[in-house]
Amino acid sequence: MISFSLWDIVRNLAIGGALTLLLSLVAFVLGGAAGLLVLFARIGKWRVPRAMAQMHIELFQGTPLLLQLFTLFFGLSLFGLDMPAWLAAALGLTLFTSAFLAEIWRGCVEAVPKGQWEASACLAMSYGEQMRHVILPQAMRLAVAPTVGFAVQVVKGTAVTSIIGFAELTKTGSMIANATFQPFLVYSLVALAYFVLCYPLSHYAQSLERKLHAAR
């Protein structure tokens, strides 16, 4: 029987951890970009894009991430679209992230007092000028803390992609646990790795919240 040293376990988990980190980054960056588009559609004045953005948000907020991934991975292959696990994982998490970030950011835009819209309108600014110079700078300040906080959800959300076979941290962990018969040790290490990724983020979100609330 092959024996595994602790080093073997840690080294393999580190590779899975790197993929988790990479997947989180991709989902967060692409999801953020897509979320921005959804946001502008959602708060804009055109009816059709607004309705589409709302549907997008409700669809991805109202269904489990797991089913979104299943639909992408298994569902699309029924139509002959063969999707590798990594692509389904990245795409699924990106869509999921875009819906949540758009909704978080919409709340921040709407939290900017109505008087700011009125004052800038009275200065003859157009909608775009109001957004760019008055509303978004204030909304962004409000958005920083909840956005960083949501990044924690994205990191943890990547664990779900293990189900479709993407070899990130959780999937790697379960494979190692099966091979070593040391599930307690391995899963503890996996949990620790998630904690090491998430704790600094949530701590950072908290300190940002304190700082930005105290500042103007």
């Binding site: 007092p113 008087g115 700011q116 009125e118 004052a119 800038s120 309108a121 009275c122 200065l123 003859a124 600014m125 157009s126 909608y127 000028e129 110079h133 008055v134 700078p137 204030q138 300040r141 103007r216």
Partner: protein, 245 residues
């Protein structure tokens, strides 16, 4: 030809008919004060003048810029708003910008002024309201009275033809009211056209050329303030000034 004129102005909030056919003319250099009980439509009337409230019928003309029910798109509104400055009860300064940036923003993005031009104007306007030294301060470092004076400077920096003042001293501590009224008094003396809604009756009597008493969505009584206060023509206005004391 009046600088500001409205005709047949009607406004509904749902079934509530808040403006019932307003005809109001304001000459250049005139100071007009709109008074009335809360709910009489006075703030609504002021806010329709620059399109902050839409209208359901009628016409608004300000120095050649015209707005009516069928012509109230973005370009029309912006053309109108270039002629009209507005100061609010709650100041509404931009909290993320310094005092100087607050005043320079619209000259920059709307009038496309150069850096030097807009800074010159901002410094001029701030010294006009006595706050030249606050150029680099942020709004939350100022008192309410100072913030309101910055808001006035910000409006003036767009060189409006007329300035609307919507209860601009109502949110101020009593000891800060006068510094703002003094600025308005000076603007009036310099010939600025002003249309204000205020609860400061003594001030209204002192600076206004014309008083407009609103009652149930109509201009119920209008005239020279001294005469109106001395001899109210309608029982509603007599009642209103009676309730002030």
């Amino acid at each position: 030809m009046p600088l500001v004129s409205t005709n047949r102005l009607h406004k509904f909030y749902g079934k509530n008919h808040v403006l019932r056919g307003i005809k109001l003319d304001v000459e250049e250099g005139e100071v007009v004060t709109i008074v009335g009980r809360s709910g009489s439509g006075k703030s609504t009337l002021l806010r329709t003048l620059n399109g902050l409230e839409s209208i359901d019928d009628g016409v608004i003309e300000v120095d050649g810029a015209r707005l009516d029910v069928d012509h109230a798109d973005g370009d029309t509104l912006r053309a109108l708003r270039q002629k009209i400055g507005m100061v609010f009860q709650q100041f509404n300064l931009f909290p993320h910008l310094s005092v100087g940036q607050n005043v320079m923003l619209a000259p920059q993005v709307v009038k496309k002024m150069t850096n030097a031009e807009r800074e010159g104007i901002a410094r001029d306007m701030l010294s006009r309201v006595g706050l030249a030294e606050k150029f680099d301060a942020f709004p939350d470092q100022l008192s309410g009275g100072q913030q309101q004076r910055v808001a006035i400077a910000r409006a003036l920096a767009m060189s409006p033809k007329v300035l609307l003042c919507d209860e601009i001293t109502s949110a101020l501590d009593p000891e800060l009211v006068n510094e703002v009224l003094n600025v308005v008094r000076r603007l009036a003396a310099e010939g600025m056209t002003l249309i204000m809604v205020t609860h400061e009756m003594r001030f209204a009597r002192e600076v206004s050329d014309k008083l407009v008493f609103m009652h149930e969505g109509r201009i119920h009584e209008t005239g020279h303030p001294q005469e109106m206060f001395a001899r109210p023509a309608t029982p509603e206005f007599a009642n209103f000034i009676g309730s002030l004391n």
